[in-house]
């Protein structure tokens, strides 16, 4: 699904990440941890093709990122749900439209999907807020909405950058449950977080592996959590 062969990334100056060799298979569940500034977000961006490696080779769904054109990238994004740390929305459209945006831009806005949208909104506890504009939402509400938007296309891969940073424990359990359900359906999930409690909670329910970024390298951590 995602193959990184000796990948490195630098924003100019020294390399932030280097020598990453990793293959992510369908159905995998990963946590990504590391100190802030270590490159968690950069790693996720490499995984959905927002950044092109400065060295090495990255393949998304079998395609080399370097040879993909803009439309190929757009098509890949439809198979990858992304939850950004700073959840970006279209501020002039109500929440429900924002969550349905991936359907809208890929012309899949049919009735069945509208029913899914309602179910999804109630799952993330935003049913009452469907008509609200994004600037009116709290930080936690925005994160939940971003997660809903990321999964509405039923993507093959969900990448979440600190999806539970602004929500209470109960809600973070709920969001985690949603991601675990998706994983059980065969979807791949990668969650960047430094919330160890969340990782422990997940490990009880699903076979999750932990990737740790340290010294510019991404390593598979042992079971010692």
């Amino acid at each position: 699904m995602i193959e990184l062969n000796n990948v490195a990334y630098s924003y100019g100056g020294g390399e932030l990440l280097s020598e990453i060799d990793l293959t992510i298979q369908p159905g995998d569940f990963y946590f990504l941890t590391g100190p802030s500034g270590a490159g968690k977000t950069t790693f996720l961006k490499l995984c959905y093709g927002d950044l092109t490696p400065t060295a090495g080779e990255a393949r998304l769904f079998g395609q080399d990122v370097r040879t993909m054109d803009r439309d190929a990238h757009a098509m890949t994004r439809r198979r990858i749900g992304v939850v950004h740390q700073d959840c970006d929305f279209l501020d002039h459209l109500p929440l429900a439209d924002n969550v349905a945006l991936p359907l809208t831009v890929s012309d899949r806005n049919d009735l069945e999907q509208v029913a899914n949208l309602k179910e999804l909104l109630s799952w993330v506890g935003l049913k009452q807020r469907a008509k609200a504009l994004p600037p009116e939402l709290s930080g936690g509400e925005r994160q939940r909405a971003a997660l809903a938007r990321a999964v509405i296309m039923s993507p093959d891969l969900v990448l979440a950058d600190e999806p539970t940073g602004n929500v209470d424990w109960e809600m973070s359990q709920r969001l985690l449950q949603l991601l675990i359900e998706l994983n059980k359906m065969g979807k791949t999930v990668i969650i960047a977080t430094h919330d160890m409690n969340l990782i422990r909670a997940a490990k009880a329910k699903v076979q999750a592996r932990v990737l740790r970024i340290a010294n510019r390298h991404v390593q598979l951590a042992g079971a010692d959590l």
Binding site: D50, A74, R78, L93, T104, V105, R149
Partner: protein, 301 residues
């Protein structure tokens, strides 16, 4: 062809969803409308100028080209003989449809504006004029001059070339200037719409980033902008050309002596320009925004 048709249908019917993705912006919208209207207004006059000078050149050309004059100056006793000889020469010249010696009455009418109606033409040593009408093919002026020199020494042929040429040249240049202005107006319109579209794209960079993130293709994002600017160009140009035509309509009508300025109206089929200007403006807007959007989107990630 099908893609073009789809584009046209899309511009008018639109994609309500794609349209909603970008928030409307009042100020650039009004600026684009105004610029497009002003350019269409100017285009009306540039086109009117070209059409009028074209007509003028054609009229001068036609009226003067098909006729020439032969002037015979001879002592009174030889006048009749020379006139008859000249007519004979003219009748046997290929390319001349008709040659008629002007009667004293006709000559008097020609001179009346200068000497008054009671001029005794018969008593004056004025030259005899022969009006020549050419066939469409025309005749060989140089050859005719040589023959006349031999047979009618007092005859001078005036084929109007020396009047016609500078007039036609002037009208032709004027027409060229008009066409050049139309071209410039189209280019300036394209430039302005490109700038406005680029400003709109830059102002909405964050929205475009969100759309890219959720898997929108460039063509989808471009649609929202292209449709807006095409419609603005269309509406603006419709208003502008309408006002321009109204202004032309209110000019005094062309007189018999058809001066240049008063002949500036649109006649007959040329009124189709009223429809054509907005359509051309819309095409210019469509192409300019499409190009700007594709280029700008490539620069954004």
């Amino acid at each position: 062809m099908k893609a073009l048709l789809n584009n046209i249908i899309f511009v008018f019917v639109g994609d309500a969803q794609a349209d909603r993705m970008v928030p409307p912006t009042g100020f650039t919208a009004r600026l684009t409308l105004f610029a497009s209207a002003a350019m269409a207004f100017l285009a009306v006059f540039a086109i009117a100028l070209s059409l009028a000078s074209g007509r003028l050149a054609q009229r001068w050309g036609q009226e003067l080209a098909q006729s020439s004059t032969l002037r015979i100056s001879a002592p009174a006793e030889q006048m009749a003989a020379q006139t008859a000889a000249a007519l004979k020469v003219l009748e046997t010249t290929p390319g001349i449809a008709q040659a008629t010696a002007m009667s004293p009455d006709e000559q008097r009418a020609l001179l009346a504006p200068w000497f008054g109606p009671d001029l005794p033409v018969e008593d004056l040593p004025i030259p005899q004029l022969i009006a020549i009408e050419e066939t469409p093919e025309g005749y060989d002026a140089a050859g005719l001059r040589l023959r006349l020199q031999a047979e009618v020494p007092g005859a001078i042929l005036d084929d109007h070339t020396r009047w016609r040429k500078p007039l036609q040249q002037a009208a032709g240049r004027l027409r060229l200037l008009g066409l050049l202005s139309i071209g410039l107006i189209a280019l300036v319109t394209a430039a302005m719409i490109t700038l406005a579209a680029q400003a709109a794209l830059a102002a909405n960079a964050k929205i475009i980033a969100v759309l890219r993130l959720v898997g929108a293709q460039d063509s989808y994002i471009a649609k929202a902008f292209v449709r807006r600017f095409t419609l603005r160009a269309l509406y603006g140009a419709t208003a502008g050309s309408f006002v321009g035509f109204l202004a032309l309509f209110l000019l005094p009508a062309a007189q018999e002596q058809g001066g240049f300025l008063t002949g500036l109206g649109f006649q007959g089929l040329s009124a189709a320009w009223l429809l054509l200007i907005p359509i051309l403006a819309a095409i210019v807007g469509f192409i300019a925004t499409g190009t700007a959007a594709r280029r700008t989107l490539k620069e954004l990630r």
